[in-house]
Amino acid sequence: MGKRKEAKLASNWKQLSASGGIIGLLVLVPLITTRTDVITWFYLTLLYIALSQSWNLIGGYAGQLNLGHAAFFGAGALAARYIWLHFGLPLPVAILGGGLAATIFAMIIGLPAFRLKGIYFVIGTLVLAEILRLVFYTILPEADVMPMKLLGTYSLIPRYYLSLLIAVLTVVIIYWISRSRLGLGLMSIREDEDAAEASGVDTQRYKLLAFTISTFLAGLAGGIYAYYSAAFRAGGLFEPVWTFDAVIIVFVGGVGTIVGPIIGSVFFVLLKQILSLYLPGGIHVAVFGVLFIIVVLFLPGGLIELMTKFRKRTSVGEHLH
């Protein structure tokens, strides 16, 4: 008992110092290199960490396969862009506003959406994002371009730091939830809703709570993009690719784990860059589709599971020698 606690404490310290080290290195990245392609690569990875980790809460921990995540990313991005660029308010206000916009929207649609169960919830959320995509392509058909004044002084570095800040914030929040009473409750809903109810878990309330937090974080991730993108069309923010990139990353990395979406994002962005170098445009999507199927069928625990297996095998090997 005492030994187990000590070991736990030691591994907590190990984790904490490792995470601190990684964050420290990430803070230094723009000081080490000025290559925009490298910084963009880091920026994209962090954006995807934030987006996929936010999906991981509702999809991975609570087990509610929300395929309308793009709707909340888009709502957050659009709101942040308007508050920042068109209403001229400070950036932090805009980013928070984006998160809130996504959450308010989630609360409006959350109540009816969670009356649907299983596959109907999946279809319902997917359709929701599609409706928004079509609506915004129609009512805001023009590209939203940053004014020349801003483009003239555009620098990647503040964009990079914003993505780092939001990614770290997202990971910390999900990590904290995963080790709390709330996290346990969410997992019980994922595993068996009837048994969770019978054990005293207000499943409806906790699903909504997870949805609220998850969409708020997706809205913040949208803010990263709103601040970064020189030009976009509003409908494009609601493209299903924002949902499916996040879903693929979470499953490939390790669904319902903290490290999974992080490893998944690094792997995803790296592979995407490499594939788009050597393959004709758009083919990488097909590759990711196939990869997704392979992982779901043969490696349900994702890359995390693969790494743990490998580590176990090597440590067993060490014992033998």
Partner: protein, 239 residues
Amino acid sequence: MILEVKSLSKAFGGLVAINNLDLGVIEGEIVGLIGPNGSGKTTLFNLIGGVITPDSGEIKFNDREITGFKPHIVCQSGIARTFQLTKPFAQMTALQNVMIGRMYGSEPVRSMRQAEEECEEILEFIGLGGRSLSVAATFGLVDRKRLEIARALATKPKLLLLDETMAGLNPTEMEDALQLVKAIGDSGTTLIVVEHVMKAILDISSRLVVLNYGVKIAEGKPQEVVQDKKVIEAYLGEQ
């Protein structure tokens, strides 16, 4: 009276599963609930547990009306249940399974550490002490049933509904299970036990209630009830 069921009825389409049922349970009792397949035992558990709502009638727990309450509220007010087909949280550890009950049940603790310590004790009591960090998906039938009871106990119920926890156990395992149920009863928890295994039910029940087609056909001391003509007919058919 800890539980009072009054003129309770529930029909599924044309099938009357529970028909104008009255049932009272006194604190500290172990009530055995028996009856042929389809006689309404599990339906009664589902009605008490809030999984389904009755067409008419009322359910009172500690003199408080709980008819139509949602399952989590029923649990939080002090009634826990197990499922006939076990429903473990498969990808979670045994400890986590039990902690759900401890942290969301009727006297919930908020601190993870306190819940962990108390749940280790519950697992020890139930006979799963060495397996607290194993994932529930790896458990066999016997351990799954134990875990199911441990999770229900962790919610600190005043009344515990056990739905066929002994089905599929071999004689030795059943003996262990019987001792366990007795120990739970001795600790002051009131029990309603649904069981098909006659030896088991006669051994532990202080009172027996027999259902057939949703109607209570007999009630009383176990040894007397099993000799009741109506009960024998319900099980074996008329002569």
